[in-house]
Symmetry: C2
Subunit: 133 residues, 2 copies
Amino acid sequence: MSTPCYCIELRAAARKTSAIYDEALAPFGITIAQYSLLRKIDRAKRISLTELASISDLDRSTIGRNAKVLERMGLVQSVSGKDQREALLELSTMGQKVLAESIPAHAAAQAKIEDHLGGPDGAKDLLSRLHSL
Amino acid sequence: MSTPCYCIELRAAARKTSAIYDEALAPFGITIAQYSLLRKIDRAKRISLTELASISDLDRSTIGRNAKVLERMGLVQSVSGKDQREALLELSTMGQKVLAESIPAHAAAQAKIEDHLGGPDGAKDLLSRLHSL
DNA sequence: GCCATATGCGGGTATATACCCGCTCCTATG
DNA sequence: CATAGGAGCGGGTATATACCCGCATATGGC
């Protein structure tokens, strides 16, 4: 057997864990990707698409489309800042509520994954390897 | 700082490595996901969508759509087996050629990733952690 | 103050991915 | 041998993601 493809293995792992988190978050009607965005917007209070894309390490147009979904869901609203080009995102009241409610579910998923990895040390090790990529 | 989300980190790592492999494979007009499918079809000689989905750990409908792209590209052809429901995939002559040509590029990407991970040991370690997920 | 350039976004297009529904075809049970 | 249940697929719909192009706005050099 030759060495497996690191990329394919990573993609599979990402899909698998995403399914676990998505299932945990399903009762709140959001996915792990959406949860992550809500969290980042919440932390920033107000953030532009470009900035959010930057801290998320995602393409700006991707963020734009994902944000549009959150807006349609009523979890996020877009306000304009001084720079008329900018669309600043912030959580709606419902967005704050949904985020707060889903945090425990996310924590449970985190614990589950950590458990699979043999505890905090194994998890830390995985993260460190991922970061060296 | 609280613990980062394992899922988000995995997704980011998968995106990042995918970009590296995609770039390496771009001269041959295929993505890493397509390369992986071509490789699996090649190994099996002939394989059904359901079976391919099974070994790929992907949804059958996903495989069906991805295979359709490969067919449109002329890299794969679908033949029907004894069971009339089955659509057996096999590489076309061009598919074999493209796969053969892109193998070195893929190997180069593998080496690059392995390098990031501090050599074969680090890479093996990452794979082992991913597999325990 | 004006224009060249840079910045911020939206939209088009394409792949990757999943879930669900419905159709077709196969197979085992009575 | 007929039919019920199961297996294999396609297609609808939706999110996630990236790249490129074009439009609007800001800004800096003159």
